[in-house]
Subunit: 105 residues, 2 copies
């Protein structure tokens, strides 16, 4: 990682573009344990609004990190899970969490 970080080719820059913002990484973290309903995910993310969670999930779907499965029930039910690309983030998230754990709150 000694070379210049050029927008189009730098892995860190490309990762940050997808993961930017206060909530994105936390939403992915919330799905590392497996498939979750919207309400389950929301209650695992203290302080997130339904609109923000919806927006983050849509963006993660667009980037191919999250899969949404819709069940034609009454009321309709949606379940969210990580795709292979999303699960591939696990090592980075585990390392990030270990580092963050050592910071003051």
């Amino acid at each position: 990682m000694e070379d210049p970080c050029v927008e189009e080719t730098c892995g860190v820059a490309k990762a940050v573009r997808v993961l930017d913002g206060k909530w994105t990484v936390r939403v992915i973290r919330g799905l590392l344990g497996g498939t979750r309903r919207f309400s389950e995910l929301r209650s695992s993310l203290e302080g997130i609004s339904p609109k923000t969670l919806t927006d983050r999930l849509r963006a993660l779907e667009r980037h191919g990190l999250v899969h949404r499965e819709l069940y034609a029930e009454v009321p309709p039910r949606a379940e969210y899970s990580l795709t292979a690309r999303g699960r591939d983030l696990a090592p980075a998230l585990v390392a990030l969490a270990a580092w963050g754990d050592k910071l003051d709150a």
Copy 2:
């Protein structure tokens, strides 16, 4: 990482708070190779403005990730390096870069 992500105790949330934004992680990446002058760092980060780089470096100093060494020369010279806390991010950044490398530009 199965438990809820509560703002004060969740490692991922604490890490994101420090690393948020488009540039912060890229500035840290630019210092992984060792001590850099401001101008060296700036030219390794395509598209960053001097003001943004100054702001990011000041924030990283406040969070204890970056050390600034001032040399009383004419004109004064400043060199930036990662502290131990900053260097501890290397494994997470390497994992993030490997993941980002596989994304489309």
